[in-house]
Symmetry: C2
């Protein structure tokens, strides 16, 4: 046994690695679910982009975005998710959507 | 009737606005689902952060991240979501997770 090795620490680390693997399985399941939800969301926003482009509706709608941000911040708090992160997340998605809408018009 | 108004165009725009409202309802439902999935994901990564900090496991794991990116890119293609976006999305989430893990140690 080397100086750095300690049976108690080794067992603790093995248990930690096993738990880590199990949690990673859950994370992978959640990620697959989120990717499929986002695929559906982009189908929706693609149709919104077509409707806006065909009817001269501006690609960006600041009032709608503000309402979405407020709503998601509240949902995040209820779900014990950081509200700042929820806002950052929505802004990340909206940036992508607006780029796609602009690309539809170019 | 003003010069700019045309009954056909008005009806078309009204129908477009109605469809837009309906799609926005779906987008809001999807966003609520995603926020709740992400809340669960951050519960998982919070536990991962504690396990790593308590067992001297490095906060970042490049091999794991690479496998996650490859897997999500494949899932995205199957779901007709842009694979580049799926990768950007995962990197966005991982950046937040690593910041949280580092904060746990500081």
């Amino acid at each position: 046994m080397t100086e750095a090795s300690n049976p108690h620490d080794d067992a603790k680390k093995t248990a930690a690695l096993e738990e880590l693997l199990s949690i990673r399985g859950s994370i992978d399941n959640i990620d697959a679910a989120v990717i499929h939800m986002l695929a559906e969301r982009f189908k929706c926003t693609k149709r919104v982009g077509v409707l806006k482009a065909e009817n001269d509706i501006p690609p960006s709608d600041i009032d709608r975005e503000q309402r979405q941000i407020e709503r998601l911040r509240k949902l995040a708090v209820d779900a014990e998710l950081d509200a700042e992160f929820a806002e950052k997340f929505l802004n990340f998605i909206i940036r992508e959507v607006i780029q796609n809408h602009l690309a539809l018009r170019s």
